[in-house]
């Protein structure tokens, strides 16, 4: 629980800072307006430094520009958006669960679309424009991670892991560098990159299982299972390294792990396909 403020007097400008996204909230708020994290629950940080992503309470509302998003369900959560006029969100179309008929649909033209089609990425990103309601879910148990993105932020996300993003955020993709990173990185050739330019926006990811985040200092590194990588600040570098596991017989086996080096945030998921032990 948040400790009561030192001064009992009512201060009109008192605010609570969300420990997950650093957004400021009114004192009476139970959940952060910007990311939905419960404000009355302390950050859960393991001794090793991983922070558990906040479990968003059922039916929590999140606001961005003139729209609201409600997160419903705790097994396979649904993000339901009430789009204000002029607001829009973009996503991969197979995550749509239901919509009102009046929500207008269009597609986003992407540079290099053909290359991506060959790489098995969605060729087309769909856009839904308000006013109206539309809801999204992904086909597996897990958590919704709400990342408010402020101007100047750049995030790299595992392909197909983003559920939706608000229109203020620019979407592109980066080729993962290095052949061994592609072959043994466990996530294909491309990563989604989200960049905010002038206005703040919201990015909602779906992680399989539970999601954990840690902030790496400059030069600090951590080795993670490539299949578990979910997102990172673009300032974090990722390199797949091999570890030889000797069995005493013949050649033994090799194991690949992604070396993430700071500065910046790294997010991982606890359910993943284990790729290419070779």
């Amino acid at each position: 629980m948040i400790e009561p403020a030192d001064s009992p007097a009512v201060e009109p400008f008192e605010r609570i800072q969300c420990q997950w996204c650093q957004g400021m909230n009114e004192k009476a708020a139970l959940a952060c307006r910007a990311c939905g994290a419960p404000l009355d629950i302390r950050n859960l940080i393991s001794e090793s430094g991983w922070r558990e992503a906040p479990r968003i309470r059922d039916m929590t509302e999140i606001q961005f520009s003139s729209s609201t998003c409600q997160v419903e369900g705790e097994i396979v959560p649904v993000a339901e958006i009430n789009l204000g006029p002029g607001d829009s969100v973009f996503f991969e179309h197979h995550v749509m669960l239901w919509k009102e008929e009046r929500v207008a649909m269009s597609v986003m033209q992407l540079a290099g679309g053909l290359k991506r089609a060959f790489a098995g990425m969605p060729f087309i990103i769909s856009v839904a424009a308000g006013p109206g309601r539309i809801a999204f879910s992904r086909d597996a148990t897990g958590e919704l991670i709400v990342l408010p993105v402020h101007p100047g932020m750049e995030l790299d996300v595992r392909e197909h892991a983003f559920l939706l993003s608000s229109h203020q955020i620019a979407y592109s993709f980066v080729r993962i560098k290095g052949l061994s990173n592609i072959l043994f990185g466990g996530q294909g050739m491309y990563m989604d990159r989200f960049v905010t330019t002038s206005a703040a926006g919201v990015l909602i990811l779906h992680g399989y299982g539970n999601v954990f985040e840690r902030r790496l200092g400059p030069g600090e590194s951590i080795m993670v299972e490539p299949g578990a990588f979910l997102y990172k600040d673009s300032s974090v570098t990722m390199n797949v390294e091999f570890q030889k596991l000797g069995t005493g017989f013949f050649g033994g086996t090799k194991m690949s792990l992604a070396k993430m080096t700071g500065p910046g945030r790294v997010g991982i998921q606890s359910m993943y396909v284990h790729h290419n032990t070779e």
């Binding site: 409600q70 597609v107 879910s137």
Partner: protein, 332 residues
């Protein structure tokens, strides 16, 4: 019957447990109808199943929903399945059913003598040895086999315990059917039903075919057949299992909503279904414009509909659709 304190089997004539000495408490004779509160306060109804409920109880005896909590309704009109306490117990005539676990829930039925339930055999988790399991013949076996529906339903007769689960994280949906009430359920959703519920099926009439050269393939986004369960004279209980979280809403007459076809769980028979194609707007016309078309199921009220948040990938959506059942199209 078993000893309540140590679980040792007890014979009919025993008054004490042979192992631990516990006095045997016999349940009321099963011929007596289940205790129904004599005076139900006016307007005391379960929000979820609509049955009369005694508000002094914490959970609805027909469907297990917590009575004192308001339903968690989203602003858009969808309601989450009612909160159900772990180990909630439902009463069906002389039998009862306890719902255990909240991740992959188990329906644990305590069948009274003469009561029976039917189910598809792969959902059986465990049973008492004395529960009699037989197969139930179904009409139209050939057609069912072609449609990929279970050919054989298994029937279990009390007295004794039998438990069911499906191997998926999700929610268990108890649907209490009042006499004369029917419900349409998408195939493979049934966990178990009491034998007072009759089981029938009908063709959905929702299909489209895709063409690739000379190959034509027909797809059924909500299944070729849909199950229809009806309670004829006595109230019945239907236990469904859906993946992920389940949301329900009531559609007013003429009100429509577009849902992902594979997310549908059940609907009232009064709710109409229709295919809907939506073409998003784009600056450039693609030569393969169907590649980014969305396929929806339009549900039209009046009636109740339920969807699940986990759904299978819809097949054939982005291929060349050559023919389809009655559908509408929007081009943005």
């Amino acid at each position: 019957m078993f000893c309540v304190s140590c679980g040792t089997p007890i014979l009919e004539e025993q008054n004490f447990c042979g192992k631990c000495g516990q006095t045997v408490k016999r349940p009321a004779p099963p011929s007596r109808p289940a205790a129904v509160p004599a005076a139900v306060p006016a307007g005391a109804r379960c929000n979820w199943c609509g049955a009369d409920a005694d508000l002094s109880q914490s959970a609805c005896p027909h469907c297990g929903a917590t009575l004192k909590l308001p339903a968690a309704a989203a602003e858009s009109g969808w309601t989450k399945l009612p909160a159900r306490k772990d180990m909630a117990k439902l009463q069906i005539g002389n039998s009862s059913c306890q719902i255990e676990g909240q991740y992959v829930p188990v329906a644990d039925m305590n069948l009274a003598a003469g009561d029976s339930v039917y189910f598809t055999h792969h959902v059986l988790l465990w049973r008492d040895p004395q529960v009699n399991v037989t197969s139930m013949s179904l009409k139209g076996a050939w057609k069912r086999m072609f449609a990929g529906l279970p050919l054989i339903m298994t029937q279990a007769e009390g007295p004794g315990h039998i438990a069911f689960s499906k191997d998926d994280p999700g929610e268990l949906i108890p649907v209490a059917l009042q006499p004369g009430q029917s419900i349409d359920v998408r195939e493979h959703m049934l966990l178990a039903a009491t034998s007072t519920v009759t089981y029938d099926w009908f063709q959905t009439g929702i299909w489209f075919s895709t063409k690739n050269g000379d190959d034509t393939e027909t797809h059924y986004p909500v299944g070729c057949y849909m199950d229809r369960f009806t309670s004829a004279r006595t109230p019945g209980l239907l236990l469904l299992h859906a993946g992920g979280n389940v949301f329900v809403r009531n559609l007013a007459p003429g009100q429509t909503i577009l849902v992902k076809p594979t997310a549908l769980v059940f609907k009232d028979p009064t709710v109409g279904m229709q295919l809907h194609f939506e073409h998003p707007g784009a600056q450039v016309a693609f030569w393969r414009s169907w590649g980014n078309r969305y396929l929806w199921l339009r549900l039209t009220g009046p009636g109740r509909v339920a969807i699940q948040s986990v759904f299978e990938r819809l097949e054939g959506e982005s291929r060349n659709i050559s023919q389809w059942s009655n559908a509408t199209t929007t081009r943005w």
